[in-house]
């Protein structure tokens, strides 16, 4: 990692954090005094990824526009690190016509084919399509790669097993990233997973498996580079599990009564962003003026995206009937 990369990653982490914090705020609009998931400019479930920036950024830095990524129900950080159009993504989350899907998809269904990004609200569902993208890339003779992100809870879904086996068998250029944020909604990893680290499961598929502790963006960068280079070279898939933290609740509105006393404070004190900032400062890769510039730029970027979304009109009711099928759409009814 050189200083340019490091600063870029830092800026991306800030962008993600700012985005999620803003989203948390906006999400409350129109929902008070009583919290109602259906009210306000951004309704529906909202799964924020503040705290998980190192995962998205440490992997995303190695990816090109033409590489493919599948993300789970908690997708913003990964989308941003993949370079998804932030304005259109935000408009989508607002359910507006200028959204990536013109308001049909929403927060769990962001698709940006320009950068080969997609996500799904079904746990574990992103593994197979990532395989498929990798299969296409391999058949097309390119050196593109696919990366599937999923939570540690998703690693107990059947698709994980089937996909890792198939990826290894066919030596596909795909990397599996498990974000171990300790919980699947309220269920701790220890109550869902018979091994403490999913990386141990890599051996069951004859592929490399790495566990990265401590939400460490530098280690993620390194492991990500190795795995992605390997895939690009045609040497097949890898599995990386990354310990990270979920600084908001599972979804906005989650009271998190299932957390132990103080558990969350620990995570907050161990916030990966100030830790990375300190490292950059210590290395002399960042000074506080630049840091200030970055903060300003990042805030402006998020404001722009939110402004874009707010300005965009709502879709017309009759638009609900199009896009079931490609081409004419007239078969929709």
């Amino acid at each position: 990692m050189d200083s340019k990369q490091a600063v870029f990653m830092y800026e991306q982490m800030l962008l993600i954090r700012r985005y999620e914090d803003q989203m948390a705020q906006i999400y409350t609009e129109g929902k008070s005094p009583l919290f109602s998931i259906a009210a306000g400019p951004v309704p529906g479930e909202m799964h924020l990824a503040a705290g998980q920036e190192p995962v998205a950024v440490g992997i995303g830095i190695h990816l090109r526009n033409d590489d493919a990524v599948t993300a789970p129900h908690r997708p913003h950080h990964i989308a941003i690190a993949k370079g998804v159009d932030l304005n259109r993504m935000t408009a989508e989350i607002f359910g507006r016509v200028d959204g990536l899907s013109h308001g049909k998809g929403g927060h769990m269904h962001l698709f940006d084919p320009q950068v080969h990004f997609s996500c799904s609200g079904i746990v574990g569902a992103g593994f197979p399509p990532a395989l498929g993208a990798a299969l296409a890339m391999k058949r097309q003779g390119s050196d593109r790669v696919a990366v599937a992100f999923a939570g540690e809870g998703a690693a107990n879904q059947g698709t994980f097993h089937e996909s890792l086996n198939l990826a290894s068998l066919w030596k596909l250029p795909v990397v599996f990233i498990i974000e171990d944020n300790h919980y699947a909604i309220s269920v701790p990893k220890s109550e869902s997973t018979a091994v403490s680290r999913n990386s141990e499961r890599a051996a069951a598929y004859n592929i490399p498996g790495v566990y990265i502790r401590d939400n460490d963006v530098v280690a993620i960068y390194e492991a990500g580079k190795e795995a992605i280079d390997r895939a690009r070279r045609g040497d097949g898939p890898s599995l990386i599990e990354i310990e990270t933290t979920r600084l908001y609740g599972h979804f906005q509105g989650d009271a998190e009564a299932y957390l132990a006393q103080g558990e969350k404070d620990e995570w907050r004190h161990h916030d990966p962003i100030p830790r990375f900032r300190d490292l950059l400062l210590a290395n002399g890769w960042l000074d506080s003026a630049t840091d200030q510039d970055i903060q300003t730029r990042v805030n402006a970027r998020v404001d722009e995206a939110v402004g874009f979304a707010r300005k965009s009109p709502e879709p017309m009711p009759e638009d609900a009937l199009t896009d079931v099928f490609a081409e004419t759409g007239k078969e929709a009814i």
Binding site: G44, G106, S186, L321
Partner: protein
């Protein structure tokens, strides 16, 4: 006595109370699913049960629906009475083989020697912008494959009585609760679902529809949250002098064909209101029954109000456009009346 009979409950409370009563009465009953433990079920179906019965009878699972639903079936065959939660019915596809090739068919394939007394409870329904993978009803699909009873309560009273009956049924029962009827507080909920619920245990037989509103001009056949939309439409129609009978099917399997037919023989006009996709589902089945068994009584074409064969969109105006609404129901009622 007045206070006793007027205790009103939300549907979520009615469900957890029903489970509680059966767990207290029968040690074979236990609950299994994602976040059913300390969390109390994402939609409150198991609130309080973990505290009362502990982790051996209220069991959090990994996100392994095939394994834990299949395990519930296996446990039922060995004498337990599992209640297993599929968090959203939209997720059925990850476990459908265990559900329909095994749970639903084993009794038949074994010539009656194996039974799976089990309740598979699951959340359904739209109305809060959760988009295409979290907003469906899909009960028609489960009613299509033989071997599963299909229960869809529309209010707290029915929810409790049908849940207790479902737990006691010797067969696998799919029990659907509509998220927008539960009274969760953090989600819009229909006040009409909050009704008086007796504290004691009671059952409602599966296969008996409920005429929630008498009428003479038009029959609306519906289920779940749409019952209340239909009643609203009926109330408005009444002002215009149209008398609408609203039939709440309550269960799709068994289906109370008798009640549908006798209502039709009275009203001669049929509107079906269904939150599922329009084609190849519940609305078609009800219309077919009319066309087969009440054709000579029909004085107007049948009208169906359902989701127009599109996935549920996210954005509010789009979602509202596809979910059957009171005005759309009223249009259909007017159409069949004026025909």
């Amino acid at each position: 006595m007045a206070t006793e009979t007027s205790r009103k409950l939300t549907m979520a409370r009615a469900i957890s109370e029903a489970i509680d009563l059966e767990m207290a009465a029968d040690s074979r009953v236990f609950v299994m699913g994602e976040d059913v433990g300390p969390y109390g079920g994402i939609f409150g179906s198991t609130t309080g049960l973990f505290t009362k019965y502990g982790p051996n009878r209220v069991i959090d699972t990994p996100i392994s629906e095939s394994a834990f639903i299949g395990a519930a079936a296996g446990a039922a065959a060995e004498g337990l009475r599992p209640i297993v939660e599929l968090m959203f019915v939209d997720f059925f596809g990850v476990a459908m083989d265990q559900i329909y090739n095994h749970l639903a068919k084993n009794h038949y394939m074994s010539g009656g020697s194996v039974s799976h007394p089990l309740v598979l409870m699951t959340a359904m329904g739209a109305g809060y912008n959760d988009a295409a993978q979290h907003s469906q009803t899909l009960y028609g699909l489960f009613a299509h494959v033989p071997g599963l009873k299909v229960v869809v309560p529309s209010n707290a009273y029915d929810a409790k009585g049908l849940m207790i009956q479902s737990i006691r049924d010797p067969n696998p029962v799919m029990y659907f609760f509509h998220k927008g009827l539960l009274g969760l507080g953090w989600m819009p909920s229909d006040d009409r679902a909050v009704v008086t619920v007796p504290e004691e245990s009671y059952t409602i037989p599966l296969g008996r529809a409920n005429i929630v509103r008498d009428g003479t001009d038009v029959t609306i056949v519906t289920i779940g949250a749409m019952v209340h939309r239909a009643v609203e439409a009926a109330e408005i129609a009444a002002v215009k002098g149209i008398s609408v009978e609203v039939v709440d099917l309550r269960t799709l399997v068994p289906l109370d064909t008798g009640t549908i037919l006798s209502s039709l023989k009275k009203t001669h006009r049929l509107v079906i209101v269904d939150e599922d996709y329009l084609s190849f589902g519940m609305s078609g089945e009800i219309a077919a029954i009319a066309a087969e068994q009440a054709l000579e009584y029909l004085e107007a074409p049948v009208r169906r109000v359902a989701v127009p064969n599109v996935p549920i969109p996210y954005s509010r105006p789009l979602e509202q456009a596809v979910i059957p609404s009171t005005p759309r129901i009223l249009d259909a009622v007017t159409y069949v009346t004026e025909f």
